[in-house]
């Protein structure tokens, strides 16, 4: 507690979370909402968004869109800005994987991952940045990954997109810092999710061996980092990447 107000209070702030129908995105949306924010849920699966919106109750809007479709990305930005009455907090969380060893990686698998994970971030952020600059407040939070920094065999496309996100964030952070709009990344390590749930015991054992905390992280632990970066208290943080990985990589 800080005097008579709670830290990390987001009351009145309007947030848009992409990929909110997935594990980590859902936790981010829940956490922002719990801090008082009005939350826009983007996703591809409408029923999942409706279910989550129903659970959260008030202060929720849903925005289904396909981020592989450039026109839909632009429309998403316009719609969210209009319907929420200005997006203060943008969380670019949506992402896809199309894993495969590099020598066998197809153009399609490369293009699809870069389009959704990086190009849609550029386009959506461009739609929403200028209004943030005008209002002299904004929080852009990009969900990258530990592998964007360390690399990972079988994920050249995914790692390229996530590393690209970090460079993108640093450049934008420098351009718009004077407008009180911050741009940061959160880089999760291994997080309990549908994706990691598919790993077999042997794979899990190997991964645990590399994590000092000997456990996977939770979506809620990633969401806490997002809440911090979205808050007024994080006003002097920009161009940074917060690593939430149980000590798996200390960078």
């Amino acid at each position: 507690m800080n005097g008579d107000r709670t830290m990390f209070d987001l009351s009145g702030r309007k947030a848009l979370v992409t990929g909110a129908s997935g594990g980590i995105g859902e936790e981010i949306a829940r956490a922002l909402h719990a801090q008082g924010a009005i939350v826009g849920l983007h996703g591809t699966r409408v029923e999942k968004l409706e279910t989550l919106a129903g659970e959260l109750g008030e202060r929720v809007h849903i925005f289904p869109a396909d981020l592989a479709d450039r026109a839909e990305v632009k429309a998403l930005g316009e719609k969210a800005e209009a319907e929420l009455g200005g997006v203060d907090i943008l969380v670019n969380n949506a992402g896809i994987t199309k894993d495969g060893l590099f020598v066998r990686m197809s153009d399609d698998d490369w293009d699809a991952v870069l389009e959704v994970n990086l190009t849609s971030v550029f386009r959506l952020t461009r739609e929403l940045t200028h209004p943030m600059m005008r209002r002299r407040f904004g929080r852009i939070i990009n969900i990258t990954s530990i592998v964007g920094v360390t690399g990972n065999p079988g994920q050249a496309n995914y790692c390229a997109s996530k590393a690209g996100m970090i460079g993108f964030s640093k450049s934008l952070a420098q351009e718009i810092a004077t407008r009180n709009v911050t741009v940061n990344c959160v880089a999760p390590g291994f997080i309990e999710s549908a994706m990691t749930g598919k790993l077999n015991d042997k794979q899990k054992e190997t991964i645990m061996g590399a994590i000092p905390m000997k456990r996977m992280g939770t979506g809620a632990e990633v969401a806490s980092a997002v809440v911090y970066l979205a808050s007024t208290e994080a006003g002097y943080m920009t161009g940074q990447t917060l690593h939430v990985n149980g000590g798996m990589a200390m960078i």
Binding site: H130, M133, R134, T178
Partner: protein, 78 residues
Amino acid sequence: MSDIAERVKKIVIDHLGVDADKVSEGASFIDDLGADSLDTVELVMAFEEEFGVEIPDDAADSILTVGDAVKFIEKAQA
């Protein structure tokens, strides 16, 4: 002053938060009105929106004063 000049002036006053009497035709956005490079980009975007014209980057680079903006827009709309 023409209608275009009045509208340009209003955008500049609103955006940069400067006094109306400082916004003369020869006033330089950066040197006289305290704009930074990001402000000049935002002004160009505001002019595009207000007047429904497209201002390409090389043209935008040559719009340094209020008068430059008015001239460009008058030409574009002619």
